[in-house]
Symmetry: D2
Subunit: 234 residues, 4 copies
């Protein structure tokens, strides 16, 4: 495999989401209810709370003491360090939209979000340690796919810049981080199995992100019916 | 909530799978290729390998020393004891179909199967310890939903009884185990949150099983194209 | 190695404890203060709370699907099942001595007890899965070494039978369990490394038990000075 | 409690080690066999291999999203980042002493070293997240206690500077790191329980270091008799 193949795989995965995802269709169809964005931010708060932690766990799964192993461990801790606390951006974006949610009420991610979190922990802790790079590969390079739909949402929902700090901050970090991910893959991926493992996680973690977005729309409909776990806070 | 509501939720979740699942549609449409069943058995081998283990982990998440806590811990270990080694039924069913797969080649579950396994571990180890009962609730009572499609597969593919030991053994255990699960829920579920947590896991674990079945069909098509991870062993 | 060598190693380890342990010396010297026994029971409550759990974790460290692996997994879950809730015997023994300690105040094992618990978890989860049998080997056969000092303590402190349920119950289980441990070692230990690993854990877990007993005496002296974490509950 | 009390506790713990530790007595008595230092370096290789990892795990045990929680998480990842790969200093010090040990033969720490590692993981993952600072408190400030005995060893054994990189590097880092630890304790320790928990870990982890040093001397004697796990590599 190669970066070309990985990029092709990523592109196809995004095309499925951009073409079929129910939340994205709803936004493109013009639904301007900010609670769609708020529900997405709540899920973002949850999974982002775990990113620094599960990134660090990759180090526990690295057994070698050779130079690439040590460099990969350092990469993981560096990422963890940079991502620590980023869930609070989503939290403050919610706050600035008018949703002041006491932290002790933010205890229940959607099951699809929890499944996504669970998968990322398993990817970090078991199997080929390189494969967690498959998640980073698309996550650090998602703006060009996710940008248009965000632009539509921002316009329709009238979202101001201070409600978009999570999104903007991560878009800005993208370029540098994406280069780091690519450099690490280049340094560490030696065998076809390495590339396949990275590709598997790329596809699956992006698919689960899509499932999470679909679940946001389902939950939105429950919210309208007063049957959501988030009635009372949204 | 109540058992009635839980049963209603389970029924609805099954209806979605029975109505929309792509693998089930393929079987119902008459595809008689035994490799569909073999691919399913391989995934069954993988997730069943973890069931005794993740069931036991629930005990680590039980903090109390009161009588219901201790009884629930014992229930978990008893289940683990009974489920140990059941993955070998699936393995031997494969063997009797003519697929003699060296164990060291059985290393790669489909990503959807791995995500399912990851979710079950997270459910066991974190959050409300009762919620893992949501998985057991449907898994130990699935024959009545899954029976018809199996009958169709058995007939069309000409599967003999000795290729169905995993399926038949678990159908037979269903009645007793299902009663155990219900008794445990009755004893331990006290609050609405308990019932909601059990219900969340019921829905999500069944949905992920459906995703795994869908992935089996996708992999089958790759197999036909010679692009599957299982080309070479199937 | 052999059972003979393992028994010899166990005997030597016990001789060190019986000859040098400070708590045992104190009891043999005639200190009849029941709080010595109560402090020991509290530590017993703590580490016994973990025994069923860490025994089950061995199963996570067993990777094979062959018959000895599956039998060993079943052995582990069977032990877990039998040991669940045994910490409550120690708790009730304390109660019958007049120490009614609210469960929420039983949160702080001695550091030596915590280190012992930590070691048992590590032994279960990492390295040769057989090595946890080294702990069971001496723990299920300790009466003949520990019996005399208990007899002295019982006599001097005037302990009645209902304050000794943990001790008596486990002495009674010893014979059967010890046979199970030996049978499992016989079935599974194949290489010199297996025997060495079992022997290492035998020696270290017994030594840490001795350290815990020493720490009980140190804490007893703090208790007399009013400086113990257990002042207020003893 | 206070830093004064913590320092007093640390001083007392060191006095016990400096007064009673068998390895230190042996070195002070003039034993100039470099294998004493080599055995110590091997244990250092083992526990240092885990330091970056278990430091990162503290983050998994931090549940809050408040500013001190996030700062403490960042502190942990920063430490992990700095400590990654430091075990290789010990490895190269061994090499420069003439002990070229193939990495695949470095698989067996002494049981006392493994117990120490196990304790540090448990401290990181469970209980009060602050308590791991108790280990850092003395570890980052150990030169003034450990310096004299090292000077003696260096002189007697004729150790050259390039065999002392682990020791010298960490002595140099001490001042800065020690200030970081103190700053973090100052920021985060609010209650008496916090200080007590930190103090418990300070005492226990230092005691286990002493046990490890004692075990080095026991192993040295086995080495002379040809009965050590390290015969063949030393």
């Amino acid at each position: 495999m190669s970066f070309e193949a990985l990029n092709e795989t990523m592109k196809k995965s995004w095309e499925i989401i951009l073409g079929e995802n129910l939340l994205l269709k709803e936004v493109n169809a013009g639904n301007a209810d900010r609670r769609l964005y708020a529900l997405y931010l709540i899920q973002t708060f949850f999974y982002t709370s775990h990113n620094a932690k599960n990134q660090a766990l990759v180090a526990l799964n690295i057994k070698g003491h050779d130079s690439p192993s040590i460099q990969y461990m350092k990469y993981c801790f560096k990422q963890s360090l940079e991502e620590t606390g980023h869930e609070m951006m989503a939290y403050h974006d919610l706050k600035r939209m008018g949703y002041e949610i006491p932290m002790e009420k933010l205890t229940s991610p959607l099951p699809e979000t929890e499944a996504f979190i669970a998968y990322l922990y398993k990817v970090s802790l078991t199997g080929n340690p390189l494969r967690s790079l498959g998640y980073a590969f698309w996550a650090e390079d998602s703006y060009r796919f996710f940008g248009d739909i965000m632009t539509t949402a921002i316009k329709n929902m009238g979202l101001s810049k201070d409600m978009l700090t999570f999104f903007n901050e991560h878009s800005a970090l993208d370029v540098e981080h994406s280069q780091d991910v690519n450099a690490m893959i280049k340094k560490c991926a030696k065998t076809q199995q390495d590339w396949d493992d990275i590709s598997d996680v790329l596809v699956m973690s992006l698919k689960m992100t899509g499932d999470m977005l679909n679940a946001v729309l389902v939950e939105y409909k429950k919210l309208l019916e007063g049957k959501s776990r988030y009635n009372g806070i949204l």
